[in-house]
């Protein structure tokens, strides 16, 4: 009988064994349940486009991983050959310049998108109980991405990379008491040299990605555990009896709602959509759009490679990457003596600590931004400062 069916439908020759193989695999791994759990989760209805930034960040990190693997096929982490290998990649290898461009523009876009994702999370107060660890793991991811970006900028060992390494490793020296030791540890000596490059390479390729992917796992787990907390409009009540309305919502909530250990009002959004296909469509559209932009930017602009590193140059003017312009400009403004340590460490680290510990600084129950001026006003102040410093940094570099 089965043979007869196979004759009627020749494609069964392929599909039946495949189905059987999948069943075998599923029985042992529970993959179907896992996919269902991943895809058929409720997410808040309003603000779906804003929630795409998280998945876009993940896609961009994966793009960095894959483009980085391709770069590793050619790159040689030694001061003699790093520049040569990249020059070969750009000049001789088919699509080499494009792949470098992908990695560079992917990094730029990633920093921008992860920043916007943090801003969205801040505005919707998604960091409040019980999602404090979501925020903190996300903040660490943000710092790790910045760390990856700056270590990556040191690897080409052209003039830009060499002077970036010199300036960045030198910053540590201003740290009170242990500064000199830290600088020496990173540089592998008093001056920037071969060991600096290998250590930076190890940081960029092994240490930081390892920590990054560990925290991505934790971040995703926490997201699935507590569910997406959307914009505050998802929790507005519409009837004259808000208590009853909220009770209805909680009773009818689909997993992962109602969120546990949260104020009753914010336990479940008033309307939800399935992650698949509604939200996933938006996520995919944004991610594909961003990846397309990166591919085009990589193709058109590629990635620059300065002259090989020359520690004796008198004509090269070092300029920082754009995402470190605010910090660079801040250093220009900081009076060197006796406030340099205050400017570099106290203020910057206090800002970073405030960012990281935000859930514990904002203890109010309010979710609407205008109802949280105690965090919104200082945050706007900081955001303005960062943007202003970046713009003036550009203007300063233009007039050098």
């Amino acid at each position: 009988m089965n043979a007869f069916r196979t004759l009627l439908h020749p494609s069964r020759v392929v599909t039946v064994p495949l189905r059987n193989a999948y069943r075998w695999f599923d029985e042992r791994t529970g993959i179907t349940q896992l996919v269902h759990k991943g895809l058929y989760e409720a997410v808040p209805h309003s603000g779906g486009w804003a929630y795409t930034l998280g998945s876009a960040t993940l896609v961009l990190i994966l793009l960095q991983l894959f483009s980085g693997i391709f770069l590793l096929l050619d790159y040689v982490p030694s001061v003699e050959e790093a520049w040569q290998s990249l020059h070969f990649l750009q000049a001789q290898d088919a699509f080499g310049n494009w792949v470098r461009g992908l990695h560079l523009w992917g990094a730029y876009t990633l920093i921008l998108v992860i920043g916007l994702h943090a801003l969205r999370t801040f505005l919707s107060a998604s960091y409040k109980r019980p999602r404090e660890l979501n925020w903190m793991s996300g903040a660490l991811l943000f710092f790790l991405v910045l760390g990856l970006a700056i270590t990556g900028a040191m690897l080409p060992w052209d003039n830009a990379a060499y002077w970036t390494a010199t300036v960045v490793t030198n910053i540590l020296h201003y740290f009170p008491l242990i500064g000199d030791g830290l600088r020496q540890l990173w540089r592998g000596g008093t001056f920037v040299g071969p060991i600096t490059l290998t250590r930076t390479f190890a940081l960029h390729v092994w240490v930081l990605p390892f920590v990054l992917f560990a925290f991505i796992g934790a971040h995703l787990y926490l997201l699935r555990r507590h569910g997406e907390f959307g914009a505050w409009v998802n929790y507005n009540t519409e009837t004259d009896d808000p208590d009853k309305e909220i009770g209805e919502r909680i009773r009818n909530a689909e997993p992962p709602y109602p969120t546990k250990r949260i104020e009753r009002r914010y336990a479940a959004p008033k309307r939800t959509v399935d992650f698949f296909p509604d939200q996933l469509f938006k996520d995919t559209a944004v991610s594909v759009g961003l990846v397309a932009i990166i591919f085009i930017a990589g193709l058109i602009f590629g990635a620059t490679l300065d002259e090989p590193a020359d520690s004796a140059t008198l004509t090269y003017v070092p300029t920082p990457e754009w995402f470190y312009l605010p910090l660079d400009q801040f250093l220009v403004l900081t009076p060197h003596d006796p406030l340099i340590a205050v400017g570099i460490f106290v203020i910057v680290l206090a800002g970073a600590a405030a960012f990281f510990l935000l859930p514990f600084l904002d203890r109010s129950r309010e979710r609407r931004p205008t109802r949280r001026p105690e965090v919104l006003v200082p945050a706007l102040f900081m955001i303005f400062a960062v943007i202003f410093l970046a713009v003036l940094g550009v203007n300063r570099l233009y007039n050098l």
Binding site: L333, T370, V377, L392, N395, N399
Partner: protein
């Protein structure tokens, strides 16, 4: 390079005329840009809120009306300034400057045309456009954009005069000269802060006027007045309260709204101003030295005192308003106000007890006062004044945040505040106005003896060699 010698003219033509006309013009122009920004905010809030918040609608309309009242005068002043003061009295200099910045002035003129069309259209059709609120908001935004560009173009000229980068007149270098962007940021914020301060000032005056009238009503009609005293206005029934009570609530609300803008935007100014001074230090050192160590150093002390006064007055007003409404944490606001006053006094300490640092050196008394000298190390910019500025900003940020927090928790009630608070608002407005004038005086005098820093002196008023072309090229203006 020639030395500065006495030139023809008198104090009226060479100093006062320019100062008075320019400073008045700047106050008007800055208000116009700030007012349209505030009108956009109010119009947006009014549009977004479900109840169509009438207070914001009224404020936006009021801002546009007041803009129209002063727009004509401000424009006439600008024309007078260009035609009679700059062309008439400082002709040679202005023609040279005009040649260098020809396209900038040309674009400035174009934006002026757009501004006229937009501002009069909005004013004449405000009510009619009320049926198309989004279109009205769109026109307001357009007006603001045009005004911003207008400011940007004139900032290029103003910043070029301080940091001409060796007289480089290439159009892009002209636009992006070292202080152009920072001056634009400084003025963008300053314009909004000034408009907020002006709203606070006018609201303070109106609040005093209305509450005086309300007291008269209470005296003449005791039965009504019982429910309509200043302190009970918020609780009085809408039907039985006199119109003055409603007016008092509105002006109280408008005053605090203006104060929030004035303090909030000024909060960013020390940051921007510091950067501005840094760029001047890097690119026009003599001008910077003049400001910090020379003839203008003590004027700078006035400036930092006025800055601290803005924060102190703002915090004092927030404190009194919170106290009048019985808001929690009002007492902390009082403490912060006192701390701000103390920090301001500390920041205002002179670094030497003489008009200029050169005087100290000439007298051979450049040692601390406790060693019989004229120096006061506690008045040094680094680290004491920097620290004081930082403390000032942090305290004012705390004060503003605490006030807005109370506001967002509905802990404040309009119309309850006392008349003295309105006087504080008037003081706040006046302080911002004076500060703008002092700043103008500093900026214009810092370059002396130059009109274009390092390139063109006052006594020459002309460029003898290397006449610059209107655009392009890098032939510098040279003072020989």
């Amino acid at each position: 390079m020639s030395t500065s010698t006495q030139i023809g003219g008198n104090l009226l033509t060479n100093g006062l005329l320019v100062a008075v006309v320019a400073l008045v013009h700047i106050q008007i122009a800055a208000f116009l840009i700030g007012a349209s920004t505030m009108a956009i905010v109010s119009e947006t809030v009014s549009l977004v809120r479900r109840n169509r918040d009438e207070r914001h609608d009224r404020l936006a309309h009021g801002l546009i009306k007041s803009s129209i009242f002063i727009f004509g005068f401000g424009s006439a002043l600008a024309i007078f300034f260009v035609m009679f003061v700059l062309t008439g009295v400082w002709g040679k200099f202005f023609v040279s400057l005009q040649q260098i910045t020809f396209w900038v002035f040309f674009l400035e003129g174009i934006t002026f045309l757009f501004e006229i069309v937009l501002i009069y259209t909005l004013y004449a059709n405000w009510q009619r456009l009320g049926e198309h609120r989004k279109a009205r908001l769109g026109m307001l935004i357009l007006l603001n954009v045009v005004q911003w560009w207008q400011m940007f173009f004139i900032d290029i000229v103003a910043s070029f005069m301080v940091t001409p980068n060796g007289g480089d007149v290439n159009i892009l270098n002209l636009i992006l000269n070292p202080t152009s962007i920072v001056l634009t940021a400084h003025r963008t914020l300053g314009n909004i802060a000034w408009a907020g301060a002006a709203v606070a000032l006018v609201s303070g005056v109106q609040y005093l006027r209305v509450t005086r009238r309300l007291e008269t009503v209470r005296r003449t009609a005791p039965a009504t007045a019982a429910a309509a005293s200043v302190g009970a206005m918020a609780a009085s029934a809408a039907g039985s309260e006199p119109p003055e009570a409603r007016e008092a609530r509105y002006w109280d609300w408008a005053g605090q709204w203006g104060a929030v803008f004035a303090v909030g935007l000024t909060l960013l100014q020390p940051w921007v101003g510091y950067e501005y001074a840094k760029e001047i230090q890097l690119h026009a050192y003599p001008a910077w030295f003049n400001m910090m160590f020379g003839d203008l150093s003590n004027v700078f002390l006035v400036q930092i005192t006025l800055l601290g006064s803005i924060f102190t007055l703002g915090a004092a007003y927030f404190w009194r308003r919170m106290k009048a409404s019985g808001a929690p944490h009002a007492r902390r606001q009082g403490v912060v106000t006192a701390m701000l006053a103390f920090v301001t006094l500390f920041a205002a300490l002179p670094a030497w007890f003489a008009p200029t640092y050169a005087d100290v050196v000439t007298a051979h008394l450049d040692r601390p006062f406790w060693q019989g000298g004229l120096l006061n190390p506690f008045g040094n910019f680094i680290p004491y004044k920097v620290g004081a500025l930082f403390a000032m900003v942090m305290l004012a940020l705390w004060s503003l945040t605490a006030y807005m927090r109370a506001n967002s928790r509905d802990e404040l009630q309009a119309g309850r505040v006392g008349r003295r608070s309105a006087v504080i608002l008037i003081g706040l407005g006046a302080t911002v106005s004076v500060m703008m004038m002092v700043m103008g005086v500093i900026r214009e005098h810092a370059r002396q003896p130059y009109l274009i820093s390092g390139e063109l002196t006052i006594n020459n008023q002309q460029i003898l060699n290397n006449q610059p072309s209107a655009v392009g090229g890098s032939s510098g203006v040279t003072d020989r």
